[in-house]
């Protein structure tokens, strides 16, 4: 059985002496592990209020810190112990922003598998709450850009623009954002696969339908890349959508 919470104590706060004598009694050996106390003085209680105000974040106060969520989380179990949903909820409720910031490098790693939400005995929508925490931090400028946010925004902008998603544009657009040089045709400014810089694995993968002469598949995807599929009656709805998102401050950060 793994000890799930050991990683929450920073190494510099753990003190272990070779020999330790307390009030004349030798306590060397197993009993000499000391965790130094810490002083916290910057709670931001408004932070939790903002989370509760969002319909998807309001279950945060039902949490009783049982850690079922952490125990089911694959990112915690198979990737990084420091990713700990229970702890993030705890910190967010107390408004301990600097502690959250220390974990900014792992906080975005949630893969939205919803094991936490499913198993929580108190009915906290854990995954949603975690995303609201991140969103709120981003809105307040408390966290730097992170990869999944970049992708989420990129995706949402495409939805907003066309009403639909197109796989090719999503894939090549994302690769371009990663710093690869994608070659585009001069007229429609659409990415051309097979030439330009693409990661090796993708090159081979895109070659497969060509090697197997899968003409129908190639034609369909080429057509979609040239003429992005659109929702027809979209313009008026798009404006409402944009307005709502602006009200939420979703487009600003």
């Amino acid at each position: 059985m793994a000890i799930h919470e050991r990683s929450l104590v920073e190494p510099e706060r753990i003190l272990r002496k070779e020999r330790l004598v307390v009030e004349g009694i030798d306590v060397s050996g197993d009993w000499n592990l000391i965790i130094l106390p810490r002083v916290i003085n910057d709670y931001d209680l408004d932070f939790a209020k903002e989370i509760i105000n969002s319909p998807d974040g309001k279950t945060i106060n039902q949490c009783y810190q049982c850690s079922y969520c952490t125990a089911s989380c694959p990112v915690h179990n198979y990737w990084d112990e420091r990713y700990n949903p229970r702890h993030f909820i705890y910190l967010a409720r107390l408004g301990m922003i600097d502690e959250l910031q220390k974990r900014a490098d792992v906080m975005w790693r949630c893969v939205s598998c919803h094991k936490c939400t499913h198993r929580c005995p108190k009915g906290v929508l854990v995954e949603e709450v975690l995303k609201v925490i991140l969103r709120t931090m981003a809105k307040k400028g408390l966290i730097e850009e992170y990869p999944s946010k970049k992708f989420d925004k990129f995706f949402t902008e495409q939805v907003l623009e066309y009403g639909r998603i197109e796989d090719g544009e999503l894939l090549f657009g994302w690769i371009e954002k990663q710093g690869y040089k994608v070659v585009k045709d001069p007229i429609l400014k659409k990415p051309i696969p097979f030439i330009g810089e693409t990661p090796e694995w993708l090159k081979e993968l895109t070659m497969k339908p060509i090697k197997s002469m899968n003409i129908g598949f190639l034609m369909l995807n080429a057509k979609h890349m040239l003429f992005h599929p659109r929702t027809k009656n979209w313009n008026r709805f798009k404006q409402v959508l944009r307005k709502v998102m602006e009200e939420e401050g979703a487009l600003a950060h």
Binding site: S54, H114, P147, I165, T231, F237, E248
Partner: protein, 319 residues
């Protein structure tokens, strides 16, 4: 059986009209064979998937409410979606619209403002697997099977959002009492939450053998992070593929275009790196059912699968 309705609104989702057209084509074939009718949802929009919801709450409510409203306009009370992401998004919107009055009212006002009818009634969304199982079922599949998938060992991969979270998918059967306050009631037709079996049952009826695949059957493939967090996704996919292979599977059956794409993409990368035991190909469960119903490999577009399941199926005389 027969509680969802034989004729439903069909929300294919963006993916099925592009790179995952094989799933769309084979789904239509299976529905036709089983005597069910899919009514294409005209002019639908993207559900926002797992990405937009991290950017905007109200925005995703609106995106999904628009689709619901279109379904109502076409006279439907039931939507089926073949994609885990789409059915999740629609069910999520359903949950918030039903439980939060203020969200419901705001969404309705905004729908009208955007030139769409407001919702007189909130339609229910089902995953297409649930629909096949309840409207046709294993018995019907057995009757229709002309070329049993004899000898084919299948690992059934359900992914995350088919059964989770129970708030949206309504899969949790509880004992009552205090739990009633916390958890919504299980939907009668819903699959088991921790041990889903609908796909196993359908493929078994078509003659395939299911291999042991728990707990990887509902383990995450990296999902919305398959492009933005490659290291984690690669590890998750490796665990899934290796478990399937080591349990003797010839093929992985999938029921979501995003899981499917993620499995195929990372399978390829892992194989390039020389990781052992990751070469199990993937096929949509509808493709396998289509083959069993006597359709050819080209009819169910097996060539579209980048993981190339054809050799395995040919070896067993199934394609």
């Amino acid at each position: 059986m027969g509680v969802i309705g034989k004729r439903v609104a069909y929300y294919p989702g963006c993916s099925l009209e592009g790179a995952a057209r094989a799933y769309d084509v084979s789904t239509r074939i299976v529905a036709k064979e089983l005597g069910l009718e899919l009514d294409y949802l005209e002019d639908y929009n993207c559900c926002g998937a797992m990405e937009s919801k991290n950017v905007t709450f109200m925005g995703t409510m609106l995106l999904n409410a628009r689709n619901m409203s279109l379904a109502r306009k076409q006279g439907h009370e039931v939507i089926v979606a073949p994609c885990n992401g789409c059915s999740f998004s629609l069910q999520r919107a359903e949950y918030f619209l039903e439980t939060d009055r203020s969200v419901y009212e705001k969404v309705n006002a905004l729908l009208r403002e955007g030139g769409v009818d407001s919702l007189d009634k909130i339609p229910h969304t089902y995953h297409i697997l649930e629909w096949f199982y309840h409207e046709a079922g294993p018995q019907k599949v057995k009757e229709k099977t002309k070329r049993p998938l004899r000898g084919l060992k299948v690992a059934n991969y359900y992914g995350c959002l088919y059964t989770r979270p129970h708030f949206y998918a309504r899969t949790y059967a509880h004992a009552g009492g205090q739990e009633e306050e916390v958890r919504p009631r299980k939907r009668d037709t819903a699959d088991d939450d921790e041990h889903p079996y609908y796909m196993n049952a359908l493929l078994e009826a078509a003659g395939a053998t299911n291999v042991e695949f728990e707990p990887m059957h509902t383990q995450c493939c990296g999902g919305p992070h398959s492009l933005s967090d490659e290291m984690v996704s690669e590890k998750f996919v490796m665990m899934i593929l290796q478990t399937a292979k080591r349990n003797g599977a010839d093929i992985i059956a999938t029921e979501c275009p995003l899981c499917h794409a993620s499995l195929e993409m990372y399978r390829h990368r892992l194989m390039m790196k020389g990781v052992p035991d990751v070469d199990v190909p993937a096929a949509y469960f509808t493709q396998l059912l289509g083959l069993a119903f006597g359709y050819g490999a080209n009819d169910v577009k097996l060539k579209d699968n980048l993981s190339d399941p054809l050799p395995v199926l040919k070896r067993l005389g199934l394609a």
